[in-house]
């Protein structure tokens, strides 16, 4: 599918999606409310069929916390980047997509561990690398006076 057709298909699914063709991928930012329904559609729509979730990344964007999903369709070979933001920094919650792509269960656990983003309907949300009482090191306001020397 060409970039234009992909953008048209995505806009057809989610009218509020902000989609543009980047230098590498087609990137779309979807509102948090319709996020899970959107992901379900792009996976199950036979024309899109994004069945392979490559990578899930959490990014601290200062005002918001962002989740970035890199997706590929193994049948059509096209790629898509889906982004979703949450403005709530104290109790951020993003719907889990572990029911659609089982691999995301563990990528989401990693994001929970390092950025403190919770995932609703996640089957097993626990810390992955760090202790339960550790902070969230990939947040930009993370402070560690012992291990991190700032000049």
């Amino acid at each position: 599918m060409t970039n234009e057709a992909l953008i048209a298909a995505i806009t057809g699914i989610e009218a509020e999606a902000n989609t543009l063709a980047g230098p590498q991928f087609v990137e779309t930012t979807v509102p948090l409310a319709g996020f899970h329904a959107f992901m379900k559609k792009i996976k199950e729509d036979p024309a899109l069929s994004f069945d392979y979730l490559i990578c899930v990344t959490g990014v601290d964007r200062a005002e918001t916390l962002q989740m970035v999903y890199h997706l590929e369709s193994t049948t059509h070979k096209h790629l898509l980047v889906v982004k979703v933001h949450t403005a709530d920094r104290t109790t951020p919650v993003v719907p889990s997509v572990a029911d659609l792509w089982p691999t995301s269960e563990f990528h989401e656990r990693e994001a929970y561990d390092l950025l403190g983003i919770s995932f609703s309907n996640h089957p097993d949300l626990r810390r992955m690398f760090l202790d339960d009482n550790w902070g969230y090191p990939l947040r930009k306001d993370y402070k560690d006076d012992i291990h991190i020397v700032s000049r």
Binding site: Y52, I54, T103, M128, F129, L130, L138
Partner: protein, 377 residues
């Protein structure tokens, strides 16, 4: 005799309570500090929960305070058997972001080095796989031949394991004058060793009994669980990025993507063995045709990426490795994410090992070829 039969029949109906055992973090077959919490009923595996983080070193956090040329020096500590491919991914990502075109010579050298690295990695995997199955001889045979590759690396790259050879803009040093001669000599020698490997392990009855028809992974499950690399190709998931999204000099060589639709432990073994022949073929096609030219382009003293997001995928010996750089225009990245193949592969183990024996779990672990620093980062 009849009494014995009676006992055996009743034994078949005996059910024991489920119990939990810890496999690791110092178990020899986990090849690093990985703990598997295994839920067992007798010998049957009911559930496997991997516990990771023993050697989490916060590489993604550290990367945020490093410059881009320094970034590669952390990636070779992650998957230390694919150091060349990991640093190549960072180099390619930075080059793409800056729109730097590297000389043809660099592309050829990178590809040859990556394939040598893949051979060394698969060799180590083969000898360790034999060792896990109780065949200690393979360990010595494999490590003996791996030395030859490491000697070649040492001569050109200056290191044997942590190869910071690929840097943004090219490679760190030009190839050693003996490089081509040594690689060709190694290939000639290794071509006689690979059939020896096959004779030693592939047909071994104990080995085949423990691996053939054991622990299937279907193509759909491989895709859903994000399994990549030879492990997924044994299930028929055509995920070889060298073929489907070629980078460096992979578009200039002819090679087969090894695929199978069986998906058991033995197929995962066979795919890696066949991939070694393909790596040899790639090196043979390139080694005499390395173009003349510079080994690197001159980069600015301070490398600054334009604002934006950049993603680069490469095929390591274990699967798809991804570098995701979020840049805010400064000299160090705003956020770096490493998509490591071992991370996604590891968590598919629970799905595969369910219902099989605990001894099969050791074989599954071997064919997944996990490197723990790659998972923990």
């Amino acid at each position: 005799m009849d009494e014995l039969k009676e006992v055996m029949i009743t034994n078949d109906e005996i059910r024991t309570d489920e119990y939990l055992i810890n496999m690791g973090p110092q178990h020899p077959s986990t090849h690093g500090v990985l703990r598997l919490l295994v839920q067992l009923e007798g010998e049957i595996v009911h559930n496997v929960q991997p516990h990771i983080g023993y050697i989490h070193s916060g590489i993604e956090k550290m990367a945020e305070s490093l410059s881009y040329p320094q970034l590669g020096h952390l990636t070779d500590r992650m998957d230390y058997l694919s150091a060349i491919q990991n640093t190549e991914a960072v180099a390619l990502c930075v080059e793409n972001a800056l729109q730097v075109e590297v000389p043809e010579r660099v592309k050829y050298i990178r590809t040859i080095m990556a394939e040598l690295s893949r051979l060394a990695s698969h060799q180590l995997w083969w000898c360790v796989m034999g060792m896990d199955m109780g065949a200690l001889t393979t360990f010595f045979y494999g490590l003996r031949d791996r030395e030859d590759i490491l000697d070649i690396f040492e001569e050109t790259c200056g290191a044997r394991l942590t190869l910071n050879y690929n840097i943004p803009g090219g490679v760190m040093f030009d190839i050693h004058p003996n490089f081509q001669r040594d690689v060709k000599a190694f290939i000639q020698k290794f071509k006689t060793k690979l059939p020896e490997y096959e004779r030693l392990l592939s047909g071994n009855v104990i080995f085949t009994e423990r691996t053939k028809g054991v622990a299937y992974l279907t193509k759909e499950d491989a895709i859903a669980w994000g399994v990549t690399g030879p492990t997924a190709r044994a299930s028929g998931f055509a995920c070889d990025l060298r073929k489907h999204r070629p980078y460096s000099a992979y578009d200039k060589v002819q090679f087969k993507e090894i695929l199978s639709d069986v998906g058991d432990t033995y197929t995962r073994y066979q795919v890696r063995m066949a991939e070694m022949w393909e790596s040899i073929s790639i090196i043979e096609q390139l080694i005499d045709n390395i173009p003349e030219g510079d080994h690197a382009v001159k980069m600015k003293g301070v490398v600054k990426l334009p604002e934006g997001e950049f993603y680069q995928r490469v095929e390591t010996a274990r699967g798809e490795f991804g570098v995701f750089i979020v840049s805010d225009g400064k000299k160090n990245p705003y956020r770096v994410k490493f998509r490591s193949p071992g991370f996604s592969n590891l968590f598919a183990i629970n799905h595969i090992a369910k219902g099989w024996k605990i001894a099969d779990l050791v074989a599954i672990m071997s064919t997944f070829d996990l490197v723990i620093p790659d998972i923990d980062r």
